[in-house]
Amino acid sequence: MPVSEGWSADTAVEEMYAAHYRSLVRLSVLLVRDVETAEEVVQDAFVAMHGRWRRLREPDKALAYLRQCVVNRSRSVLRHRGVRARHVPAPPLEGPGSDADVMAAERRTHVLDALRELPERQREVLVLRYYLDLTEARIAETLGISRGAVKSHASRGAARLRELLEDVHE
């Protein structure tokens, strides 16, 4: 992590944006599916982090805060904006698409759609565990649940996801 002594809130936002914005947007897409919504969620999280910087003061705390914000807001947005269409068609490929490209796009769509079918907590735990590679303890802290619950959501979620994706398993 870069040295952050004396970072202003504005600098913190710049540094954290450069290092983490894209991966946080991707994190949110795994949770909410829609890229535009995910960007709104992550932008809100950065604005909140800016407001909170005085009490965070370190990049690793700021990153933990951003992740919590993104997960919490993603959850809220899903609950209160309603469910999007079940099958969001993959965006049309630009240029001559090879068969491999088409298959890759379809595979992505399937995975994202399948994630959307999981119960909220299972989806969150799977994403934090297998996309962010967080430890069980860290997932428990981020979500405010017990470690036992993390284990249980992870194993059930993984089983269910496998079921949903049996046809696209490689």
């Binding site: 604005v47 796009a105 595979r107």
Partner: protein, 336 residues
């Protein structure tokens, strides 16, 4: 088990691949624009009128702007300078100017609760209770005299179940929410809990009992306070600051004639006020709250020339200076 590890690896690759083509389209600039609204409009006042020698040395630039950008949206829309564009038929407790979020502030009688207001447009995508409680715990208030005492990475979610409110905490591994932090007094710990009880109840407009979970499980202690049972709001006379300025908000720009309103439990229901620049009192007056002996509404009009001011509202001191300091609330405002 090899297969298990292979499965985990597969899951990792699958999730990674699923978003590998996601490229953000929005820029740092947009985030900066939202936060710049806050900091450009932030208050740079040296705390305490006594610390400023003359009005001429006041360099604060106060322009009303967005609050602690939880969603980057504006505070109650007074930026157009019309402080009376909200319905003012308030019940004494809540909702006069939006959704209240409670914060802790220091008074002559120890820490007490004050509040700030959020307008509906701030709350896209969340319930009022969720928004209010998460802001109370994690956002710095606009008024520099207020604060939240919860540790920096504390997160609180709220669920409403029948008539019970459940506040669930998660947070920073370095802060142990079961125990009181070093330097936190028992009074502050109690207030931090009451801050959330009041906030959650105000959001649902019901004195619903509140229970607390820590990492999804009931806990016997929160900030060193036994918490196994549900909590109700403690006696307002023990927990709330007894004079509140609800309107105008901290940092607000107002017109030359503007309304001040709030709640006060003042001696003989008499509320006094001053409009100050530095140590100089530019205007003063008094008014009577609607009733005595309980937090009751007051309001009055002020006319002042353009400039930056500290508005102070307080009750009178019946002891003639020998007892506790009067209850007071202050706001930095700009008259344009």
């Amino acid at each position: 088990m090899n297969e298990h590890i292979r499965d985990e690896e597969r899951l990792r690759q699958m999730l990674d691949d699923a978003v590998s083509d996601v490229e953000p389209r929005h820029t740092l600039r947009e985030i900066r624009d939202r936060t710049a609204t806050r900091s450009r409009h932030g208050w740079m006042w040296v705390a305490g009128a006594a610390a400023v020698a003359t009005a001429a040395t006041v360099t604060a630039v106060v322009v009303f702007g967005g609050g602690p950008g939880t969603t980057g949206a504006q505070r109650p829309g007074f930026a157009d300078g019309s402080p009376t564009d909200r319905a003012t038929s308030e019940q004494p407790v809540t909702r006069s100017a939006g959704l209240p979020v409670y914060y802790v502030g220091d008074t002559g009688r120890g820490p007490r609760l004050f509040r700030e207001f959020f307008s509906p447009i701030d709350r896209v995508g969340t319930t009022e209770a969720e928004f209010a409680v998460s802001v109370a715990v994690s956002e710095s208030p606009a008024d520099p005299d207020y604060r939240t005492d919860w540790p920096a990475l504390t997160f609180a979610n709220v669920e409403i179940d029948g008539d019970m409110l459940t506040v669930s905490f998660g947070g920073d591994p370095e802060s142990n929410l079961r125990e009181r932090a070093l330097g936190m007094s028992p009074a502050e710990a109690r207030l931090a809990v009451q801050q959330l009880v009041y906030t959650a109840q105000a959001a649902v407009d019901e004195p619903a009992p509140v229970r607390f979970l820590l990492f999804g499980e009931t806990t016997d202690r929160l900030l060193g306070i036994p918490i196994a049972e549900t909590r109700s709001a403690d006696d307002p006379s023990e927990v709330l600051a007894q004079v509140w300025i609800d309107k105008p908000a901290e940092g607000q720009i107002v017109q030359r004639e503007f309304e001040v309103s709030g709640l006060a439990n003042a001696f003989e229901a008499t509320v006094q006020w001053e409009l100050m620049q530095g140590a100089e009192v530019v205007k003063r007056g008094f008014t009577t709250a609607e009733e005595c002996c309980t937090m009751a509404p007051y309001s009055f009009m002020v006319t002042a020339p353009p400039g930056d001011y500290t508005l102070v509202v307080h009750d009178s001191d019946p002891s003639g200076g020998e007892g506790f300091p009067p209850w007071e609330d202050t706001k930095q405002i700009t008259v344009e």
